[in-house]
């Protein structure tokens, strides 16, 4: 604790803070721009930080990651195009809110949820990095497989109107994720002989195409309607539309707490990623709500759930990095290089060999959370005006950014092809009411699930009896079975219950989301 105070002393000087602030702002802007994300931003900034001292450099890079996780809510809410795949759930309720003239309210809640999630997760990192990381090691492939199975049950809640179509989308997502080299057998699957597909379809260009460009296409097809709606929306007409009301705070605080918890846990577990965190949080909040059917029409809790989890993942994914030197996420992996280049070797030795530097970085991270609040808040009204801008000016700009963002993933035009392919798929998925959310979940969870299952088979020596050695896994498997049984029972009262509900649901066409 006293180390931390020294850390603050070191950090609270203009020279360092300025760089952290620049990082946060840059990250926020990059996150808000659809197509550009934190991984790109951090990787690209690493050489820039060579000229800075280690604390300023690391503070800036981590600031970019934090800012971007929060900024991605902006375009999700205002344009229905998430700045990053992890903000896709934010758009589900954020965009309808914006269309109701409550853009500023949604933006504020998104920001507050992001900052709270981020701050609390950072505190957890600082206080508990070492012991948590040790516990995290207990989570091996067998446990991960069980946890992922369990998280698949949330798909039910995220399918939108039609469970059948949601499941189809999920299965398609898993199917597409199998394209590429299979890790155990080293067999290429459906790569059509293309080297670029050996590593599978990259998430970012795919998500950009499916979420951003497809949305732009849909909006382009409805320019007149959307523009006239937009002109009629007086954003923030009444104060209650601009501000987060106390009643909403009361409703959202537990949501934010849940989201932070889910995001932190997902962040610690290796390989899951922020998208899984925000989807799970949204799904969990929807399930726990008394009015789940209203989600997707402008429930502010949805925004809070997604954004708090989305931001909580970033600091907690640094826990395995700091404590064990193991990067659990793409950002952490990129940061390892930055750490080493600046003289910090992440891992248990770091705390013994360079305690002061570690304290400085911690302090910088906490300051970054506060700076994030300031940066986001000052940008509110400015950003909200975007709603008023005519779509035909916005769409081309977004298209360009998406192209740049997709290209930067692999520095090759192949990513653009991927983006365009999934634009078409995303377009039809939206219009035909197939949930792209479940597609994304299937795509992200699928490969982890298959690989961890294969690993489990080997680790358990192909013998299910050995499962007894993995109590955590057994717990999650039982949970999964329980939930599936409960869902099945809940839908069966009229055996045609599910049938008629789905078919009736397909009648409704909710225009603003899928």
């Amino acid at each position: 604790m006293s180390d931390l105070l020294i850390g603050f002393q070191d950090v609270l000087n203009p020279a360092t803070l300025i760089w952290v602030a620049i990082g946060v702002t840059l990250g926020y802007v990059l996150g808000a721009l659809p197509g550009l994300g934190k991984a790109t931003g951090v990787a690209v900034c690493i050489p820039l930080t060579f000229y800075l001292g280690p604390v300023a450099a690391l503070g800036m890079l981590i600031g970019i990651a934090k800012g971007s996780a929060a900024g991605s809510a902006v375009s999700a809410i205002l344009l229905n195009t998430p700045g990053e795949p992890s903000s896709a759930p934010t758009a589900l309720d954020g965009y309808p809110l914006a269309r109701q003239g409550k853009a500023q309210k949604a933006l504020k809640m998104g920001l507050f949820a992001s900052v709270i999630g981020d701050f609390v997760s950072t505190v957890i990192l600082i206080a508990l990095a070492a012991p948590l990381a040790r516990y995290a090691l207990l989570i091996g492939p067998v446990e991960i497989c069980a946890i992922l199975l369990f998280s698949l049950t949330f798909i039910g809640g995220l399918s939108g109107n039609s469970l059948i179509k949601g499941l189809i989308a999920g299965a398609m997502g898993v199917f597409f994720s199998t394209i590429g080299l299979e890790a155990e057998t080293f067999v290429s699957r459906m790569t059509l002989g293309l080297l670029e597909l050996e590593d599978g379809i990259a998430l970012v260009p795919m998500a950009i195409g499916m979420l951003a460009v497809a949305e732009m296409a849909v909006q382009a097809g409805n320019v007149k309607v959307l523009d006239s709606e937009g002109a009629r929306i007086t954003d923030g007409a009444s104060r209650s539309d601009r501000v987060v009301l106390a009643s909403e705070w009361r409703r959202c605080l537990p949501v934010i707490a849940r989201g932070t918890l889910i995001g932190s846990v997902v962040g610690i577990l290796p390989g899951l990623g922020a998208s899984v965190g925000s989807f799970l949080s949204y799904g969990a909040t929807k399930k726990a709500s008394k009015t789940p059917e209203k989600y997707g029409t402008g429930m502010i809790e949805g925004v809070a759930a997604a954004e708090s989890a989305d931001n909580a993942v970033v600091p907690s994914s640094l826990i395995p990095l700091f404590a064990l030197g193991i990067p659990g996420s793409v950002i952490a992996a990129i940061l390892i290089a930055a750490f080493i280049l600046h003289g910090l070797t992440p891992g248990p030795l770091m705390f013994q060999q360079q305690p002061r530097l570690v304290a400085d970085v911690y302090a910088a991270m906490l300051c970054a959370s506060v700076i994030l609040l300031i940066v986001g808040y000052t940008g509110q009204r400015l950003f909200a005006q975007v709603i008023k801008a005519p779509l035909r000016l916005i769409i081309p700009g977004v298209l360009l950014l998406c192209t740049v963002g997709a290209y930067m993933e692999t520095s090759s035009v192949f990513s653009i092809y991927v983006m365009l392919f999934f634009t078409v798929i995303g377009f039809f998925a939206r219009k035909l009411d197939f949930s792209f959310v479940t597609f994304l979940i299937g795509f992200v969870i699928g490969p982890n699930l298959e690989l961890s299952f294969r690993q489990s088979l080997q680790l358990l020596d192909h013998n299910a009896v050995n499962l007894a050695k993995h109590p955590i896994a057994v717990v999650f498997i039982l949970l999964t079975v329980a939930v599936v049984w409960w869902i099945g029972r809940g839908k069966n009262p009229a055996a045609g219950g599910q049938v008629t509900r789905s078919s009736r649901a397909t009648e409704k066409h909710v225009p603003t989301n899928s």
């Binding site: 951090v42 293309l194 080297l195 590593d199 090759s412 080997q458």
Partner: protein
């Protein structure tokens, strides 16, 4: 009808002169480099190779006096970047910094990869990967021979493999000794570390990053032809009687046809990293030994290792002929 006019003759002479100057790459190399150079890295940002690449770029930029832009072009373990560099202009302004295993091993393992060492030029090698078999510190074996004895008494143990090479080693050892080992697939170095630290597997193939955890992990065998600088007491796999040692080194790879003077210049700049203090700091922090090889030595190394690896892979049944 072409008339032979004085003008025409002068014109032809001028053209001939220009032509020879144009072919005189030696003349151009004197001003090389005149602009920024692009250094491709075949892995994503953050890994060992990327780290060394960025440190190398910094040193070389200082030596050459021009900026060197590091561009990550991940894909197929570097094969995408290799294919791109093969197609690039041989003017010395685009190069690939990557493990040479992408050229002397990958073609045997991946079907779509079909280039050969002769399809590229090399401007030196700088660091080596301390590839080895790693295990937890408290395991009761310290060499392959001891591991074999232990595995015989503990059938069904787990081994972590993150590539076909990794599998190759354990399959060969298991075959020769009749072991029953489960091979657990791993997707990356960090997963491997996780698996080791979490006691999920008893032994794992490591590209060198296990040296970051000297208190928890140890090397059981050096899979290179030389003993590791970080673990000089651990015998190499060849010393233990398995002719399977495969070296991998970070190499400057350039398109075929890049003129020799340019290669020499780059190799000269690369050599500066051997003695650069910052470079040494970064590589020693990451436990990466510096082993510089010049241009000619690089070519020899590529040819020799390609032939050797081909033999190993054939005997292991990874390639059918």
């Amino acid at each position: 009808m072409y008339e032979i006019t004085k003008r025409g003759l002068l014109g032809m002479a001028a053209a001939a002169l220009l032509g020879t100057v144009g072919f005189g790459h030696a003349g151009m190399a004197a001003d090389y480099p005149t602009g920024p150079i692009t250094m491709l890295v075949g892995y994503g940002a953050g890994g060992q190779t990327d780290l060394v690449a960025r440190a190398t770029a910094k040193v070389m930029a200082g030596e050459l006096g021009v900026p060197i832009n590091v561009v990550n072009k991940p894909g197929a373990g570097g094969a995408v970047a290799a294919r791109d560099i093969a197609k690039a202009k041989p003017d010395g302004y685009t190069m690939l910094f990557h493990s040479n295993s992408v050229i002397n091993s990958a073609p045997f393992i991946m079907e779509q990869v079909d280039y050969k060492p002769e399809d590229f030029e090399y401007a030196g090698m700088i660091t080596a990967y301390q590839v080895g078999m790693a295990s937890q510190k408290d395991q009761p074996f310290n060499t392959i021979a001891e591991y074999v004895a232990w595995a015989k008494k503990n059938p069904g143990s787990s081994y972590g493999a993150l590539s076909p090479e990794a599998r190759l080693y354990i399959t060969e050892i298991a075959k020769q000794n009749g072991l029953d080992v489960n091979i657990v697939p791993l997707k990356s170095g960090s997963e491997m570390i996780n698996a080791l630290l979490g006691n999920q597997v008893a032994l794992a193939f490591s590209g060198g990053i296990h040296y970051r955890y000297p208190d928890e992990l140890k090397t059981v065998s050096a899979l290179t032809t030389f003993r590791h600088t970080s673990a000089p007491d651990v015998p190499t796999i060849e010393e233990e009687g398995y002719p399977l040692g495969m070296d991998s080194r970070t190499t400057l790879i350039l398109p075929k046809g890049t003129p020799r003077p340019i290669l020499d210049r780059l190799a000269g700049a690369l050599k500066a990293a051997e003695t650069d203090a910052d470079f040494e700091k970064v590589t020693s922090a990451a436990n990466i030994p510096i082993k510089y090889l010049g241009v000619d030595e690089s070519y020899t190394e590529m040819r020799d290792t390609y032939a050797k690896n081909k033999g190993i892979m054939k005997r292991a049944g990874l390639i059918s002929d």
